[in-house]
């Protein structure tokens, strides 16, 4: 029986478990098996990363070869006869799982990843019921690094698959995590074994998203938030980031890419939050501030020739990116927009604008945010983020932590009726929503800035600025400004050059091209995580290019479904400028919504 999987010219025939299949030359045994419906277990393999072949869980037997081959790392050859479940394979695979378990602190019931652990799944599939090999954990000097405000690194749970190391190097180009020592002492460590908060780590959390076990997890603040909710003297408000609404469903029984905004709001209300509001509101606010800042900078550079003002201007929404530039390019901090991220804008307003409007003592307000991000935990803890007179954001929870709370509360998420965000800071536009995807901030900013300058809509069909969308690591777009309004006459005929980078490894490419003078952009959007916030380090695990694509589609569908698509049309934005902030970059804005950055060293 021959299954024809593809009609490519460069095909070869192989046999997997007795079934002959035709596959494309260069396909790995693992991929070939998956294409033909044969499942080979893996541990160190990840679709986002290069092949390592470390764990050896995926070994298969090839006829005529004494040794087994790692399916992930071995390309198929013509006529290969492969067995994925032979006597030899089964025994070896079981041995390898047993070996991994003997070195692993298999304290599952007390593990944060209990229930979402690939090693646990493997040992459950292979029914490893006995402990024949000697437990090696007591011989080891395992340490737990809890110094980072975002990430907990527990070496006793590590299986040395090096996914985190590859993530940190290949996706992020940060290399905060690396392999140290050899043999039995081999472990994943940092520069000079410093704590995670003392190295170049950007807290992006991609290592957490790619870790198969509980070796890397977020520092969770679930209990603290429950305590605040239970405290009757506190007024607990919550904001939800754009990308959370397209990820949360995955943790709660929905298909990948489901939009669960209304259910999420309902669940948050049932959890007992006093007010449920939207980070999308402050994303719209960011556009007002950042868009105005961009136009001001353009004028200062192009008309006033002010040497103090730097172009290109870079976005400042992604706290992982901020920490990265502070470490790696500290001399370029002037290029960052001074705008706080939407989370921190919201936080500063919660204890000022909101408190005043609701007649609350800001001291009693506990401000919680739900973020797709672990770096936001670090950002909220930055010393400068106290502009309201209090800590602007008290607790940051990831999408995963929110899902845990919803489960703990016994909420049947699927059956919830949709609810709306509370007023004042709960209204948003499609522009705020797309902040969750790479290119979104750029698109939102262009929708508003272009209209501000010309009085017309951006010249793209249905406001969809397609060139800034998509999964390319670095995207470029140019918008020509024609017939501007009188006050922006100096921009007439100017081609506004924009770039978008997501994943810090791509951010590095763009930064290096700026430094070398190869590119002359005006405005650049940087996002630390692949795919933007929807692929953030706080999003549901697993992640893969396919999963991120589905979440992206959901984000843009959410945008298209909004009655308002431009930040400056948001009625609550209009209201806050009328009642409180007066104008973008005004004095109040300057005080509450803008910030400074800190140059950091690489080590």
């Amino acid at each position: 029986m021959v299954q024809y999987l593809s009609v490519m010219a460069n095909n070869i025939k192989i046999t997997i478990n007795g079934v002959t299949v035709e596959i494309e030359l260069g396909t790995s045994i693992l991929e070939a098996a998956r294409q033909t419906g044969v499942i080979i277990p893996t541990l160190c393999y990840h679709k986002d990363l290069c092949v390592a072949g470390n764990c050896r869980v995926c070994v298969v037997e090839i006829a005529g070869q004494k040794r087994l081959a790692a399916a992930c790392a071995t390309p198929c050859e013509e006529g290969m006869e492969i067995f994925t479940n032979s006597f030899k394979v089964r025994n070896s695979r079981k041995h390898i799982i047993e070996l991994l378990l003997s070195e692993h602190n298999a304290d599952c019931t007390r593990c944060y990843k209990n229930g979402n652990c690939e090693l646990q799944t493997l040992s459950s599939e292979y029914k490893i019921m006995t402990q024949d090999f000697i437990r090696l954990v007591p011989f080891k000097n395992y340490t737990i690094d809890q110094f980072s405000p975002s990430i907990i690194k527990d070496d006793s749970k590590c299986v040395r698959c090096q996914r985190c190391v590859r993530t940190c190097a290949e996706l992020q180009g940060v290399n905060a995590l690396t392999v140290a020592y050899k043999g039995d002492h081999m472990k994943i460590s940092t520069f000079f074994e410093k704590a995670m908060n003392d190295v170049v780590c950007t807290n992006c959390g991609q290592c957490i998203n790619h870790c198969p076990t509980g070796a890397l997890v977020e520092k969770n603040y679930i209990e603290e938030v429950w305590d605040a909710i239970a405290d009757k003297t506190k007024h607990v408000i919550v904001q939800t980031a754009p990308a959370v609404r397209v990820g949360l469903g995955e943790e709660l029984g929905f298909e990948t890419g489901s939009r669960v905004t209304g259910k999420m709001v309902a669940a948050l209300k049932r959890l007992g939050f006093d007010a449920v509001m939207d980070t999308d509101f402050s994303a719209d606010l960011t556009i007002m501030e950042e868009g105005t800042e961009l136009l001001t900078r353009l004028k200062q550079v192009l008309v006033d020739h002010n040497p103090e003002v730097k172009l290109p201007m870079a976005t400042s929404c992604s706290p992982g990116w901020i920490k990265y530039i502070e470490h790696i390019y500290p001399e370029y901090l002037d290029h960052l927009s001074t705008c706080k991220s939407p989370q921190q804008m919201f936080g500063a307003l919660a204890k000022t604008y909101y408190a005043k409007a609701r007649n609350l003592n800001p001291e009693t307000i506990v401000s919680v945010s739900i973020m797709p991000c672990t770096a936001k935990k670090f950002e909220a803890a930055r010393p400068e983020m106290h502009d309201s007179g209090y800590r602007d954001v008290d607790y940051v929870l990831t999408t995963r932590e929110l899902a845990i709370m919803i489960k703990q509360a016994g909420i049947d998420f699927m059956k919830l009726d949709d609810m709306h965000y509370d007023r004042l800071m709960g209204e948003s536009t499609g522009a705020g929503v797309i902040f969750g995807a790479t290119g979104g901030v750029m698109e939102a900013a262009l929708r508003t800035a272009y209209e501000l300058v010309t009085g017309r809509d951006v010249p793209f069909e249905n406001l969809n600025i397609k060139p800034v969308r998509g999964i390319d690591g670095v995207k470029e777009a140019t918008i020509k400004i024609e017939n501007p309004l009188k006050e922006w006459a100096f921009l007439d005929g100017i081609e506004l050059k924009c770039a978008i980078a997501h994943g810090l490894v791509n951010a590095k490419k763009v930064m290096d091209s700026i430094i070398s003078g190869q590119s002359n952009y005006h405005f650049i959007e940087f996002m630390a995580c692949p795919g933007g916030c929807l692929g953030g380090g706080g999003q549901p695990i697993p992640t893969s290019p396919e999963i991120r694509r589905k979440r992206t589609e959901a984000i843009y569908a959410e945008d298209e479904g909004m009655p308002l698509r431009k930040s400056h049309q948001n009625p609550e934005i209009i209201k806050i400028y009328k009642d409180f902030l007066i104008k973008p970059l005004g004095e109040k804005s300057h005080h509450l919504l803008h910030t400074k950055y800190t140059a950091r060293k690489r080590y």
Partner: protein
């Protein structure tokens, strides 16, 4: 089962006739294909221990299409009980350099590297002088080939060819997945010939005297001579050049102290042969001369009856546990389990049957480890545990 094969001394490697300039200029004017054919017909196999046909290795790299190629001399001599490469590099370095240059001519490489074991730091100044002299001559005859020394840092695993490349590239010395093999994707991703010091020295012999002279030594499948590093309980430790194919009995007759209990052939990653199997064991590659044939990088360690085989194995396993790079599960955890396991059996914490479980584990390690290190731990473990089981338990 006995053999009438007698121990035959050979004297090629260390015979220095100071004719390298002549050998070099003669051979670099020969067409590469002719040199490859010469090597192939000599049936020279890699002397580092794995025994890959050298001629084929050069041929594959010569066929690879790339502007940049490399020749690397693997002088990361780390196998316990091996000390021959050090002697070659201090006594007849010109032979090695010449062979590297001829290889460069054959495959189309202009750069050669000697990856020198970290502990052989003391060889470096002298070797650099010799390289300078060698390169001077190359320039004189208008032959474009340079040789650099790259110092290792003491990791055993960096003797594994792909880990060696990683180390040279400034990365962590960890073996790569194979395929691709060095002949198409080696140092810096370029086609690379990587040969052991002794292998290169033998090619010098072949290019000097012709393939037949070399082929006539040894036995079928194991042609030529080989340096042996003899150590342990022997009255005459040292380095000896012998024809391949000898029986272990003849070897022990010559080198033993009369009380030889076992011989470890091929260092810690090789096999331990007990006295009762001396006569049926031949030293060579997959030879059919006698029952068993053992390849070796040249390490021959003799143990007499005063030695505890438990201690011997314990020592090897401690070495492997330490020197595993740690990336793949079977090797990293397997070595720890084997070491802790035999100790537990010795202390009575595990019963004797646990040794059988460990033997099955070594089988898994052999089948699934990423590189030769993890795959060959089974060799010494199973040969010691199977032959000296009582010593493991009591």
């Amino acid at each position: 089962m006995t053999t009438n094969y007698q121990l035959k001394r050979a004297d090629f490697i260390f015979k220095n006739e100071n004719d390298w300039e002549k050998i070099l200029s003669k051979n670099i004017s020969r067409p590469p294909q002719e040199l490859i054919n010469e090597l192939i017909s000599s049936e020279l196999k890699g002397r580092g221990g794995a025994g890959f046909p050298t001629g084929l290795k050069w041929k594959l790299s010569a066929e690879a299409v790339d502007e940049i190629k490399y020749v690397i001399c693997n002088a990361d001599e780390g196998e316990p009980g091996t000390f021959k490469d050090r002697e070659i590099l201090s006594k007849v370095p010109f032979k090695v350099l010449t062979a590297m240059a001829i290889c460069g001519h054959v495959i189309g490489a202009k750069e050669g590297y000697i990856y020198l074991r970290g502990e052989y730091f003391f060889l470096r100044p002298e070797l650099n002088k010799v390289i300078n002299e060698f390169e001077y001559y190359c320039r004189e005859i208008n032959f474009d080939f340079t040789i650099r020394i790259f110092m290792g840092s003491g990791a055993y695993i960096c003797g594994e060819e792909t880990a060696l490349f990683e180390s040279m590239e400034g990365k962590r010395g960890e073996p790569r997945n194979k395929p691709p093999f060095p002949s198409s994707y080696g140092y810096m991703g370029k086609p690379t010939v990587i040969n052991n010091v002794e292998t290169l020295a033998h090619t010098y012999t072949i290019f000097k005297y012709g393939a037949k002279r070399f082929y006539d030594l040894g036995v079928q499948y194991s042609r030529g001579s080989k340096l042996f590093s003899v150590s342990g309980d022997t009255p005459k430790p040292g380095i000896y050049e012998l024809e391949l194919g000898m029986s272990l009995e003849d070897f022990v007759e010559e080198f033993g102290d009369g009380d030889t209990k076992a011989v470890q052939v091929g260092g810690a990653s090789g096999f331990l042969v007990p006295r009762k199997r001396f006569n049926e064991t031949a030293i060579g590659f997959q030879g059919k001369l006698t029952g068993i044939s053992l390849p070796t990088g040249g390490s021959m360690m003799l143990f007499n009856s005063s030695r505890s085989m438990f201690n011997v194995l314990d020592n090897y396993l401690e070495f492997f546990r330490e020197e595993s790079c740690g990336q793949c599960t079977p090797c990293r955890v397997g070595c720890q389990q084997l070491l802790n396991g035999i100790k537990a059996v010795k202390r009575g914490e595990k019963n004797a049957q646990y040794l059988d479980k460990l033997l099955r584990l070594t089988e898994t390690m052999q089948y699934t480890a990423k590189c030769g290190l993890g795959q060959s731990v089974a060799n010494s473990f199973s040969s010691i545990v199977e032959n000296f089981r009582e010593e493991m338990i009591y």
